[in-house]
Amino acid sequence: MIIAKGLSKSFIAGNDTISVIDNLDLTIDEGKFACIVGPSGCGKTTLLKILCGLEKQTSGSMLIHGQPPDPKKQRFGVIFQEDSLLPWLNVISNVKLGLELYRIKDADQIATKYLDMVGLEGFEKYYPHQISGGMKKRVAIARALAVDPEIILMDEPFADLDAQTRSIMQKELLSIWSKLNKTIVFITHNVDEAVFIGQSVSVLTKRPTKVKTTVSIDLDYPRSRLSPPFISYRERILGLLQEEISSL
């Protein structure tokens, strides 16, 4: 269970203080697939960094199972917005990185298992520059899943992919999630994607951001993008987001 209460974060840039998150409240239950959408630059990545303890809030609280987030004490599987593979390591060594940092045994075997799960069997010895963008994301996902995290945090993981690959990856992620039953926090700016995969979609306001509304998506999986309820959810969330973007 993730609970953020009155969460605020500001950065000092030169002489200015910029407020990025202001009094944000958010609750995500165990095992949920929670999507977060928000206008560009509103503070989504900052929120994700606070969620995994990479940044500290300026005020308010962020608690995971009652504890402030700390990757030394809890296990997170973070998929970063930018490419975060190590170019000097091959695919399997990249996947093993988290396992090694957590000193988990049988790293080879576990890494191979998760590479198979994301459909990359046979690519173990390839280097990041020898595989495509979509494959790199899969490696990052395998690396995050391999440490058996309590919470998976994904920051626009499919943003750079073409529509075709993106749609395949969404379905694969859903099937992985239904197998592993983990809490997933999935950041995206793509409303269609959020409604397709999320059990809930939290819409963030423009910067300084807070949660505008959280919409619970009461549709069974697999969802059809053509079904009227899907379309109405999508239109509603698009509308909420539009208010934020047009008032920028």
Binding site: L54, P71, K73, V78, F80, L101, Y102, P128
Partner: protein, 268 residues
């Protein structure tokens, strides 16, 4: 900067460039022979004379009985010792200076001054204070330390923040971050520093050996025969120094290419 901006040449081109290189060297040697024959000075040895000197020094030995191979071995041994001490000190300090601004602020006023004092300027002081192998190690360390230090610091700056964040998100502590992310990120620059440092060291050793001490070492060989006005051995010593420098540079460069294949391919 890193010397890896090589465009991969087609096979035929590479063959041709080797051919041109060999031809150019041959022209150089022939011109050398011609000039020395024309001037007919006892102080300008011909390539043939230098080769004869090579045969003599490498089999019979010099006036003290030391063969060329012995001189080479001793010089190399000194350089590698000094090099090892420089690597062990410069790389960790460079990593720390790159990672911790405090360490950099403390260390850089000192290092920034010392690095402009050429190793040769340290020779008189080191003759007074140090003896035997320690003197050579010290002089080489002074020469090799700074190229490695500066390149290590520059290499650390190449570390990607996302990669560090990624490691932190897996609970990595500072030691693990240095080991798994920062050191590998800096390694291409560090290797470059090693190569430059080894080249500088090779030049330092010759100067250091000329300043007295034991009668062995390539620098010493050159000096001994300069005093005897037997210039063929002097030139032989110079040629050998050049060739060994070239060989060391080539070895490290091809090591770098192999190690950082991924980097070459990303650029290509």
């Amino acid at each position: 900067m890193l010397d890896l901006d090589v465009t991969i040449m087609p096979k035929m081109d590479r063959f041709r460039s080797v051919l041109i290189g060999v031809a150019s060297l041959a022209v150089f040697v022939v011109a050398w022979q011609a000039i020395t024959m024309a001037t007919n000075s006892p102080f300008l040895p011909t390539p043939v004379q230098v080769f004869q000197a090579f045969l003599k020094i490498s089999t019979i030995g010099d006036i003290d009985g030391y063969t060329l191979w012995w001189h080479i071995g001793v010089s190399l041994y000194r350089v590698l010792l000094g090099f090892a001490v420089a690597v062990i000190t410069a790389v960790p300090l460079g990593l720390l200076m790159g990672v911790k601004p405090l360490v950099k602020n403390v260390a850089s006023p000192i290092t920034e001054i010392i690095r402009f004092i050429p190793p040769i300027a340290w020779i008189p002081l080191s003759i007074i204070l140090l003896s035997g192998i320690n003197r050579y190690i010290f002089l080489l360390w002074i020469g090799i330390f700074f190229p490695i230090l500066l390149d290590t610091i520059a290499g650390v700056k190449r570390t990607s923040e996302t990669q560090v964040n990624m490691a932190k998100s897996f609970g990595a502590d500072n030691t693990a971050i240095i080991k798994k992310i920062i050191f590998p990120s800096a390694l291409p620059e560090i290797m470059n520093g090693l190569r430059v440092g080894l080249g500088v060291g090779w030049m330092c050793i010759v100067a250091a050996e000329m300043m007295g001490g034991e009668p062995v070492g390539l620098g010493r060989l050159i000096l001994k025969y300069a005093n005897l006005l037997q210039i063929d051995v002097v030139v032989l010593g110079m040629v050998v120094i050049g060739l060994i420098g070239l060989a060391m540079n080539y070895l490290l460069l091809s090591g770098e290419r192999r190690l950082f294949k991924w980097r070459v391919e990303i650029k290509a």
